[in-house]
């Protein structure tokens, strides 16, 4: 996020795209609700009716995968009507002319045909966004989990740059992070390209510095991205170490991955629960959960905050960091860290974005009251950074990237006539290793379902609550059908949380050419009835969904 969560409530215009905020980021949704209550205008762009669309000024219910059409058409309006912040563009950016040329081809009228959103609405939203001072964009996986995910992000960034909505409070580009520490994991260098602090592993200076710091040699060519790595399991990847992730459940097209896991020679899993991936493990380390260890998480707004040990792990389970040290030392290393703070100190020694932050300093912020510190924070007396790009854009000049629409990798056809999207719900969390074990949450949502428009359902002889089979070119799963007018006709939607109905058996693993992020949000699917049936009590996914459903 270029802004902070605290700034949301003072925004005057919120453009929420590809984010089911009230379910996936409920606390950020509360801040947005507060902004709307204060009088801010919110526009939601989402193929489904979601809770946030009920309080939005406009809901742009676009067809899945057409984001570039919508965003380029908005840019078209901004250019055409002279709403570009020419001063900001001249002083802070480069490459704008290519974008101006490209978006000429994306008139709102043409966009209406592709996206299903009226040209008038596109014009209205573009004008409102460009002319409101405190206008922020909020997006999540609905933007990125496409084969054109990077294009979507560029198209959004173009809007931000051409209107100068950057480096100011409540006005910027804000991807909402899905996991507690996805920011911190990247910051710490758990990526094939970057060492800690986004320092490229193939930069000779950086690489030499780390070889010296670690007192050892290691390769400087970048490794494999996760999506590629998973496709290579059993092929070039013969040994796998997996910490705190159920890859077999969460990777797309996971039956292929299962074949690879069977062909792998050695698999180590480190987790608090016996997850699906443990079926393939040769060794399982019993790990700890957040309440049992010390350390830091870094949230969406780059805020580094402390995690504190409240209870002891059960049985012989250990803190993950202790296990990793023991494994390194069993493998011939000589690591000596006594505490998590020691590890943190080594981490920041060579990564100056975070080097002003320490466990001790974070602990001192608890009483102020204040909570954590936002990087960049290079020195112990630096106050941290609330919003980025205040004194000019960090990379020097903001780079425009002209992008053209590319269709999703797989669209409905004669055999698979429906478009399947997957997503998350309020009551469960990702693979639901934790939340399916909560009696209360499971009482609310105990069974997987697919939302299907009554018109599509009736065509296939499916009644509300029937057991159905969803199939794609990759496999099939069985779930309850839920009549829903939240989805558009010819689109269906299912949650990904349920191991007995693994959405990722059927999702498409085609990846974005830049990031390799898979297209979880669009693939072609067909649904057929398996049996009539009574749903168990907990199927109700939330009353909101019932509002429009037939009795």
């Amino acid at each position: 996020m270029t802004n902070s969560i605290g700034e949301i409530r003072n925004a005057d215009f919120l453009f929420v795209i590809g984010s089911n905020t009230s379910e996936a980021h409920p606390i950020i949704a509360m801040e947005m609700k507060r902004a709307v209550r204060r009088g801010a205008t919110m526009v939601v762009a989402d193929p489904r009716k979601i809770w946030m669309s009920t309080i939005a000024e406009k809901h742009l219910q676009l067809k899945p995968g057409c984001d570039v059409w919508l965003l380029n058409a908005m840019a078209h309006v901004i250019c055409e009507e002279g709403l570009v912040d020419e001063t900001f563009v001249a002083e802070n950016t480069e490459g704008f002319e290519a974008v101006r040329e490209t978006v000429k081809r994306y008139s709102p009228e043409a966009a209406e045909e592709h996206t299903g959103i009226s040209a008038e609405d596109i014009r209205w939203v573009a004008r409102k966004y460009a002319t409101t001072e405190k206008a922020g964009i909020y997006y999540t996986l609905g933007i990125t989990e496409h084969t054109h995910g990077t294009d979507n992000v560029y198209a959004l960034a173009n809007l931000v740059l051409m209107t100068g909505h950057l480096g100011k409070p409540s006005s910027g580009m804000n991807p909402l992070r899905g996991q507690n520490n996805v920011q911190g994991a990247n910051d710490a260098g758990a990526t094939p390209i970057f060492l800690p602090g986004y320092q490229r592993v193939d930069d000779p200076e950086v690489h030499a510095r780390y070889e010296e710091a670690w007192g050892t040699t290691f390769p400087s060519e970048p490794g494999l991205n996760l999506n590629v790595m998973m496709k290579e399991v059993g092929k070039s990847i013969k040994g796998l170490f997996v910490m705190g992730e159920d890859v077999v459940l969460s990777e797309p097209n996971c039956m292929e991955l299962e074949k690879g896991m069977n062909a792998a020679e050695f698999v180590v899993v480190q987790d608090a629960f016996l997850n699906e991936t443990c079926r393939f493990a040769d060794v399982v380390f019993p790990a700890s959960v957040f309440a049992e260890k010390e350390g830091v998480f870094t949230n969406s707004e780059r805020r580094v905050q402390r995690v504190r040990k409240a209870v002891e792990p059960p049985g012989e389970a250990r803190e993950d960091w202790r296990i990793l040290i023991a494994l390194a030392n069993a493998s011939g290393a000589d690591w000596s860290f006594d505490t998590a703070a020691d590890v943190y100190d080594e981490l920041v020694r060579d990564a100056d974005k975070f080097s002003g932050i320490s466990h001790a300093r974070l602990d001192a912020t608890v009483e102020l009251p204040k909570t954590g510190l936002q990087w960049p924070c290079p020195t112990p007396d630096h106050p941290g950074t609330t919003f980025l790009h205040e004194e000019g854009i960090l990379r020097g000049k903001g780079l425009f990237q002209a992008v053209d629409y590319r269709p999703p990798a797989e669209l409905p056809d004669e055999t698979y006539g429906l478009l399947l999207s997957t997503g998350r719900t309020l009551y469960h969390y990702n693979c639901a290793t934790q939340t399916r074990r909560e009696s209360g949450l499971d009482a609310k949502q105990s069974e997987a379902w697919v939302e299907i428009h009554p018109r599509d359902a009736k065509k296939r002889g499916i009644e509300d609550r029937d057991l159905v089979e969803i199939s794609t070119r990759r496999g099939s799963v069985r779930v309850r059908a839920l009549y829903s007018r939240q989805v558009q006709p010819r689109c269906i939607w299912m949650p990904l949380h349920f191991f007995e109905a693994r959405a990722n058996v059927i999702t498409n693993d085609a990846g974005d050419p830049v990031t390799d992020t898979a297209e979880y949000k669009v693939c072609a699917a067909e649904v057929r009835k398996v049996e009539e049936g009574e749903a168990r009590d907990g199927l109700f996914p939330g009353t909101f969904y019932g509002v429009d459903a037939p009795a």
């Binding site: 902070s4 003072n10 409920p26 409540s170 909402l176 899905g178 996991q179 507690n180 520490n181 260098g189 758990a190 094939p192 670690w214 290691f218 970048p222 999506n227 790595m229 399991v233 070039s236 040994g239 170490f241 910490m243 992730e245 020679e265 050695f266 180590v268 040769d282 399982v284 380390f285 019993p286 957040f290 309440a291 350390g295 949230n299 805020r303 905050q305 402390r306 995690v307 504190r308 409240a310 209870v311 059960p314 389970a317 993950d320 960091w321 023991a326 494994l327 493998s331 290393a333 981490l347 009251p369 204040k370 909570t371 969390y429 934790q434 939340t435 909560e438 009696s439 949450l441 909101f544």
Partner: protein, 374 residues
């Protein structure tokens, strides 16, 4: 404080009021309560919450304003230039004693009964201001909504004081309006549409009603049914929620003696409003999903796969040497890039650092990625 920026407002000339003789400048729109709290005055409040629009419902925050005949609710009265406010006078003290004594007439006075889990602010205030406790007693007439099958939120009508913090939070902050005030006079209670279970309403189980309730009338079910120790006997450990990327701060309420001395997370509460990014708010997962910590299906010993293909318990020493030898074997047979390391965006920054160092420095491969990469 959390940096929030400011809404755009027209600039106005400086203004001030006097609070207990102290001159205090204020911004347009601020209430007497906000200015007085900045001046360090202690004004008791029950229905007030900085996240909510002022209601002036509980009458505990009444103060004297020079020239006004009646006492005024500090929470709802805008500060006006030149006003002289007094927060501690004989008249105010008399008012507070009377008010708390009246509240106590249909409120259980035994702390064991009245304090079901969370601290009861009304009883604390009544004690602090030495309210008389002999003004008689009548049964509470409020409807209880017993039998609500929702798993998390319990409503105890006996200790409800109709301050409407819960219903206002539900409407103004969470925005779902699942609960509402119903009935009139002494029968006023907290109700749902048609008396439905919260499970079947628009409720999203954020538990904000539990958090804001000053008397514990809105309580958390699980600690109650499990007969956990009351909140004041628990140790609070401030930590960061482990679900989504918002990074809400929460307090793990730990019973250190439970669970054979390993400690047990008995409930989760949120820090006071205004002090953290989440502004004292939590969602259903942050506030209520803590049972996984002590779940019986946790792995409690290292496991290795035996010749029969089953995962069986083993010692740490053996598990570590089998794992190290296995990974090294792959590396020897297929080269370092025959190995892949998947790290976790759910684990700490320190742990992610160690996995990438393990991958690079020990096993000589850059095939390391955290799990949220796809």
């Amino acid at each position: 404080m959390i940096e929030r920026g400011e809404p755009d407002q027209p600039k106005r000339p400086a203004r001030s009021i006097q609070v207990d003789g102290r001159q205090m400048p204020f911004q347009a729109g601020e209430t007497i309560l906000e200015v007085a709290q900045r001046a360090g005055a202690e004004i008791p409040t029950l229905c007030h919450d900085p996240r909510l629009e002022p209601a002036g419902a509980c009458r505990t925050c009444l103060v004297e304003v020079e020239g006004q005949r009646r006492l005024l609710p500090a929470c709802k009265t805008p500060a006006q230039d030149g006003a002289e406010v007094r927060t501690e006078t004989e008249r105010i003290d008399r008012h507070r004693k009377t008010l708390f004594a009246l509240y106590l007439t249909d409120h259980p006075q035994d702390i064991e009964v009245a304090e079901r889990g969370a601290p009861n602010e009304l009883l604390e205030m009544a004690a602090r201001y030495e309210a008389p406790r002999d003004w008689g007693f009548m049964e509470s007439l409020r409807d209880n909504r017993d039998g609500d099958r929702n798993p998390y939120i319990h409503f105890n009508a006996d200790t409800c004081i109709s301050c409407a913090r819960c219903t206002r939070y539900c409407e103004e902050v969470e925005g779902v309006s699942a609960i509402t005030l119903a009935g009139r006079g002494a029968e006023t209670t907290i109700a749902t549409v048609d008396g439905l279970s919260l499970m079947d309403t628009t409720c999203e189980m954020c538990g904000g009603c539990v958090d804001v309730c000053p008397t514990g009338a809105m309580g958390e079910k699980m600690p109650l049914t499990r007969e956990a120790k009351p909140e004041r006997e628990l140790t609070k450990v401030r930590s960061t929620c482990n679900f989504c990327g918002v990074g809400c701060q929460l307090d793990l309420n730990v019973d250190p003696d439970a669970n054979d001395g390993r400690g047990q997370v008995v409930k989760v509460t949120s820090p006071p409003a205004g002090t953290t990014t989440n502004d004292g708010n939590l969602c259903v997962k942050g506030r209520f999903a803590y049972d996984f910590i002590h779940h019986e299906e946790r792995i409690t010993s290292p496991l290795v796969r035996n010749d029969a293909g089953e995962l069986v318990p083993t010692s740490w020493e053996n598990a570590l040497s089998v794992a190290a030898a296995g990974l090294q074997g792959v590396s020897e047979r297929h080269g370092p890039n025959g190995l892949g390391f998947v790290s976790s965006s759910r684990c700490t920054m320190e742990e992610n650092y160690l996995v990438q160092k393990l991958s690079r420095a020990v096993f000589k491969t850059n095939n390391i990625h955290q799990c949220a990469a796809t």
